[in-house]
Symmetry: none
Subunit: 193 residues, 4 copies
DNA sequence: AATGAATGAGCCTTCATTCAT
DNA sequence: AATGAATGAAGGCTCATTCAT
């Protein structure tokens, strides 16, 4: 495409807005990453814009977190899609996307996700995980299965992040999570007492 | 045991102190349950004591949540212990204790636990679940197993509570969680791609 | 006459300018009527122009209210003039013009006038009422008479509007106001203690 | 009474609170009088207390204005009562109370009243004037009479204050207002066209 | 002439915590 | 031990106005 440099050629209007929004999101990320106080004034200042400008693009503070979340979800979905195309099995792909997002090399994303995971008003990553897990849940089965699998995975990842577990980044964790999915799927639903 | 008020500023040797602490905890519970603003002033007022008095027993606001959490953990541990003695298998017993705490009939406990689940500074229920799950994790195995199982269970319960899922209270969920544990334990750790 | 937009930044020689000013005034009226927030940005948006353009025609927010007021005064003056020509006595004509402007069937004008009545910087309707009352105040008499009569009438109307009195629209009120004027004029200025 | 010094002998608790409230009200009055910005922070600062303290006594900014209004109304009612006892006719007494409150020698009260007159949420002086005017409105007559008379008087006073009329303080105005009341009462309600 | 992104002072309010009594 | 008045940093958000394009 003629759009080789990707972010070129936008109308000056759109370009300015886009840049401002990006600056705000970038600032928010950095603040979260540094563990600084996440306030609208602080974010605006760090972004090099006024609070007023910030509020021109985000209706309220939560919206910034939402936008950050949407961004991350998009990145994860993409990563999952690519992995599946490359032949990785879907569950593993979804799991890996989550784990990758949180490993030590991505402090910024991690910070963002931590903030999101804590705010119940911000939609989590559930949908992405659901999608990855879906192929394992047979059509027509009770929704409880999809729910349990996706939340179990997210619960483990969340705990690892929040407890700052050394397991994050170790291949063990990915294996264990895959095993969790496989075991659940294969287990016969016979009852214990 | 050292008592639910372990985190309090002074140990309640006298009955009066004990009564005050109880009143504060009771008030806190009610406020959480009613969805009112959880502020120290509000809690103190509802408890019928002055803020000053509240601070005599709790070093800060978080300590109230800690105490509430300790209380709940004790209740759960007891429930689990009794179930095991009655012949229920340990994993199921631990799972059932968690689910029971959150079902619709216990609004107060649920409110407390919701608050606790949200505050990362308050230790969760992990220990209790760990204990229930322990028998299934063979001695000497990597700690990742205990971690994954307990956090998976808690993750599912937490999500169900926070998303206000209709699954809470349905027997399906208990079954699914038990299956999650059993499947994980039985699955051979063979690798997929 | 010099036009309703006297206070605007530039006189609208061209049709386009006139149309813009009208759109702004129209938007302002609608916003006031709907009880929405009366902000320059909001007015501009509703008018379909940019804030910048708005400021091209009105030096500041108050000027919009001024223009609206001028418009209303013109309408009232005209109504009064016509009534007098038709033989209605001047005081009654002036009173009726005021009351008509505020009755329930004219929500828009009412909203505008309410806003004006509240903003002390905007000249009220005093002049129109003064004019209607003038014939009753004998030449050479103290100005206190004109002042008292016109402000008394406006005070009553203002209170009725602001208190949302059911008297508005009732013929009683017109009668009472006429009586107020007549009684004042006829009363001998003898002193009480 | 044993309470010769009036404001002595209060429990230290009440005394402190009372003093704080008074300081806030006093500060509010002075700020209004000086035409400074009437903000909660400003009021608190001027009162020598923190905003927090201010909010301990007043639920919100408007409440300060309300309190000020209540104070003024009380003062007026008292002045009116005393005048009536001294033989002044009620209408004149009510009128005089209003005018006195606003004459040049009482800048502070005037400022307070201006603020109140502008804020439609704050109950005005209507009740006091109503009371003064009541004796002139015959029992059983239409409420329109009381309404018209009291609002007419207040309208005139309000206009004089807001327009900073030189009539304020002149005996003429009191006479004219009394005449307004007397004329209205005596006028026969015959109809003009 | 028009645009609209940007500004930023400033507003109201909350609430954990302290400390003199 | 208890009281509760006082604190004040901090936060989210609004809106009239400007000015580069």
């Amino acid at each position: 495409m003629s759009d080789a440099t990707t972010n070129a050629r936008r109308s000056p209007r759109q370009g300015r807005s886009k840049a401002t929004v990006d600056a705000i999101l970038e600032a928010a990320t950095r603040i979260l990453e540094a563990g600084e106080t996440f306030t609208t004034n602080h974010v605006a200042e760090r972004a090099g814009v006024s609070v007023g400008t910030l509020y021109q693009y985000f209706p309220d503070k939560a919206a910034i977190l939402h936008a950050l979340g949407a961004r991350e979800r998009a990145v994860m979905a993409e990563a999952t899609r690519i992995a599946i195309e490359a032949g990785v099995d879907p569950a593993r792909a979804a799991i890996r996307a989550q784990l990758t997002a949180f490993d030590g090399r991505h402090a910024a994303r991690r910070a963002v996700l931590e903030a999101i995971l804590r705010d119940p008003a911000v939609p989590g990553m559930a949908d992405e995980v659901d999608a990855g897990v879906a192929p394992f849940v047979r059509e027509g089965e009770r929704p409880v299965h999809a729910f349990v699998l996706s939340r179990a995975i997210m619960g483990v990842v969340r705990a690892a992040v929040l407890e700052d577990s050394p397991l994050l980044g170790a291949p063990d964790l990915e294996e264990a999570l895959v095993r969790l999915v496989r075991g659940y799927v294969e287990a016969s639903p016979k009852r214990s007492k």
